[in-house]
């Protein structure tokens, strides 16, 4: 069966520090991968998606970047965090573009 792992579960970082959130999928190959930010009142905002290694599409301009160094690994990064980067980040995967998505447990990021 397929599983998705996302870590860390919670993270407190100072303003200006770097960020690296990792997501890995097991039990499938060539998944479509997604990073979302979930915020109260703003719903589920798609940040990045990837349909293959090295292929990253950004949905919104922001202080974050994403990379896919391996087939089943998706990383969300920032060089310098802003207070506004605080939020709940979700990683997800799907077998094909725009089919059912499977979500990780999420990371609660607090920038102080």
């Amino acid at each position: 069966s397929q599983t998705i792992h996302q870590w860390p579960a919670t993270l407190v970082q100072p303003v200006g520090s770097p960020l690296s959130l990792e997501c890995t999928v097991e039990g499938t190959s060539n998944p479509n991968l997604y990073w979302y930010r979930q915020a109260a009142g703003r719903g589920l905002q798609l940040l990045f998606y990837s349909v293959g290694i090295g292929q990253i599409s950004s949905e919104v301009p922001q202080n974050l970047s994403a990379s896919r160094p391996q087939d089943r690994q998706f990383i969300l990064s920032s060089k310098k965090l802003l207070l506004s980067d605080s939020g709940f980040y979700l990683c997800a995967w799907s077998r094909q573009p725009n089919t059912e998505a499977f979500f990780g447990q999420g990371t609660r990021l607090t920038v102080v």
């Binding site: 703003r42 719903g43 589920l44 798609l46 599409s57 997800a92 573009p97 059912e100």
Partner: protein, 111 residues
């Protein structure tokens, strides 16, 4: 541009009352429609999809292409239905990978 609207941020009903969570979409082509649910302290997960014509946990969703709506309904709400619900129209089978979701509706079912 693709757009999905869930007009209600919060919907509060009493147990046993009917519930309808609204979803309207603006989409090129013929999208496939999904509803996702997130219960407290659980992962966001698929509730149902239109193509399956299924009823899950008593919920159904009717696609109205004329009104471009995909409202989620349940005739008798239960307390365990309290959760966050997201509507998601997708370009089923398309090459683009951008799964978009509505802003969500928080359903609160009171005893």
């Amino acid at each position: 541009a693709q757009r999905v609207t869930q007009p209600e941020k919060l919907l509060s009903v009493f147990k046993g009352a009917p519930v309808e969570l609204k979803c309207n979409y603006s989409y090129s082509g013929s999208p496939e429609l999904f509803w996702y649910v997130q219960y407290s302290r659980q992962r966001l997960q698929l509730l149902l999809r239109h193509i399956s014509r299924e009823s899950i946990k008593g919920f159904t969703a009717d696609l109205n292409k004329g009104e471009t709506s995909f409202h989620l309904k349940k005739p008798f709400a239960q307390e365990e239905d309290s959760a966050m619900y997201y509507c998601a129209p997708q370009n089923y089978g398309g090459s683009q990978g951008n799964l978009i979701f509505g802003k969500g509706t928080k359903l609160s079912v009171k005893p």
